[in-house]
Symmetry: C2
Subunit: 442 residues, 2 copies
Amino acid sequence: MPTITDVEITDVRFPTSRTADGSDAMNADADYSAVYVVLRTDGTDSAGEPLAGHGLTFTIGRGTDVVALAARHQADRLVGRDVDDVVGDMGATYRDLTADSQLRWLGPEKGVVHLSLAAVLNAAWDLAGRRAGKPVWRLLADMTPEQLVDVADLRYLSDALTRDEALEILRGAEPGKAERIAHLEHRGYPAYTTSAGWLGYDDEKLRRLTREAVDAGYRHVKLKVGARLEDDVRRLGIAREEIGPDLTLMIDANQVWDVPEAIEWVRALQQFDPLWIEEPTSPDDVLGHAAVREAVAPVRVATGEHCHNRVMFKQLFQAGAIDYCQLDTGRLASLNEIVAVLLLAAKFGVPVCPHAGGVGLCEMVQHVSVLDYVAVSGSLDGRITEFVDHLHEHFTDPCLVKDAGEGVSYVVPTAPGYSTQMRPESVARFRFPEGAEWRQDG
Amino acid sequence: MPTITDVEITDVRFPTSRTADGSDAMNADADYSAVYVVLRTDGTDSAGEPLAGHGLTFTIGRGTDVVALAARHQADRLVGRDVDDVVGDMGATYRDLTADSQLRWLGPEKGVVHLSLAAVLNAAWDLAGRRAGKPVWRLLADMTPEQLVDVADLRYLSDALTRDEALEILRGAEPGKAERIAHLEHRGYPAYTTSAGWLGYDDEKLRRLTREAVDAGYRHVKLKVGARLEDDVRRLGIAREEIGPDLTLMIDANQVWDVPEAIEWVRALQQFDPLWIEEPTSPDDVLGHAAVREAVAPVRVATGEHCHNRVMFKQLFQAGAIDYCQLDTGRLASLNEIVAVLLLAAKFGVPVCPHAGGVGLCEMVQHVSVLDYVAVSGSLDGRITEFVDHLHEHFTDPCLVKDAGEGVSYVVPTAPGYSTQMRPESVARFRFPEGAEWRQDG
């Protein structure tokens, strides 16, 4: 019986601010980073390799050390425990990791202690998948409805979703699972790209990258907006010119507006027929999003990458505040909280289009989207998952996209785990501040 | 011209869990703690003492080191700066400290990075008061409406409160300021006590402390509830017996219930005529609080100690979710955000009854409540500020309460600053893990 022998926690930072990759109206100089957690064991996996679990949360530079310190407090509780105890009841593992009321005070269930919890739990889920020899989406999809509900954190949700309703949703998705898996294995899970539209790119680069995205088979392209209206008008004009009238454009303001400003600005951009406005205002503003949504229709409203927990998503659904749920795999407390949000979204009929990009988020969201289609919502209607073509080279099992004739799509992951293992040489080079990349920089 | 020469950040913890002080349904073993920030300067104050600013945020044990590390990132920006530049435009200082988008990502505006920001800004406000030779409440009350609005962070609030509306509220409170100050200097600011009702106390201790509170002149007593209904019924029976029918009882569930459970439980306790139920459910659940409020009337709903920023308070007001606003001086980003919430509360007609207790919160809330009466709401109707008689001995200028015939009240603070300086011998003894108190414990 293998045991968790050690936890390694590393502050890994990539100097993306040097090229304006990831720049938007709120974040001009992001250095894409991760708190990377490895749960070491004394066991081996089915291939005879050392068994370990790998997880991360995504950050953007300074303060990654703060999240790493919080993760240390949380992950140390796992050291010395039997692997099968930990991964055999992930609901109990979640409750154990969240039971520390002294740490809870620092959130609760939000901010640094929730980001770090996501990293630790993501590592535990990767370990669970590897121990079972299954990709994480399949580990979950193979569970009975009762097992899957027991994994989910339904606390504070019962006014919107009872346990019985959750079971009913999952039982309703049982028929046709195998067919849906086969369908995804053939066509992949629909993806869109943000790579073309970072705010720090000049017009020529924007035009070139948009054209390349269309040539690559993308049918949806997202642009950052919100710095200066006249720039947005010009940039959206370029993008619409390149993609033509039939492909889909989305825009993302990264929280820069007050509610009245959001309404005015989006109305001014409506001429370019954007599908959605993403993060029009503070991510905490449920009622604000509802007001924006009502005012800017037919442009739709999307948010979620900074939505800090299931209680906030519950309210976004209750208030009819969003058309698209962009949950984040590094910000919610891993699959325990994500499954709860998938269930809520299914109940309220809101499509889940996870936030990705950053470091490792694309690797994780493919599991979430596949799980949603196979075992929860059973639908691809209106679903499209973000893809950003950055930093995948640092993962041992990077996500893949393909175009099987219906637009670019994620290839369904098959390797055991959560696709979150980073290459050792990348971790060594980019660890902060000791890695070679940062030593030469300093 | 004095300069900020150094920032000291200390993790200070008091072993309160040994006596169940501070125990409630969510937090059974709190060790009341603080991240304590001192801004050192090379100047002297009006008394010829070294000029420094002292601030803190309140935590409950493990993880205080995480908040301290975040505070270090934020506070270092102040080192080397001219004191009068920093304190002469506290709106600009606030914006400077919140402008780091890499750190913002870790909230945004919530959790660890917001708690640490509160500690740093509280220290800056203490420095501002000492530099001016005024208690902080008076420094703010002496400002013109325009100056006070410029201090407040109104971002994301304009759909509920415009700058012009804020100015109108403050101008409306200009007449009568001197009379209101004189009134408070005479009678003090009304206080209630939570010291009697911690959940870990047995019935006999509860009865004795409740009787002592009544004898001491308290007219409002608050009890923790939410662990077991039959215990709550018995404990509230004891408390109501001791205080009689005329004094006021409040109850506090510290977030343990789902919405339907909260409604059922509070209805079962309605027989004891509680004024309010505090924190009935998740602090993030604006719509949940609104549902509870509608269902449990005439019992009123109070929340705020875990309400993480002004955007959440805005929604609590917009949704009609609360009867009492219990803002927290260690969780909101100091007076810059607090003034914004006071203005919102005044606009919506919700009385502000700040959360206190913990470490140093009573010292700070007295300034907030006095400021609210003198310069913002101009009203004492329904206002009552929490007082807990713990740990004041560790402050150089502890808050005082008195009973001038109208119930126990806070004495208006007169010393320059924010009353947040801790005694050096206390900091030395309780610093974690090096202090003598923790070395002997380990």
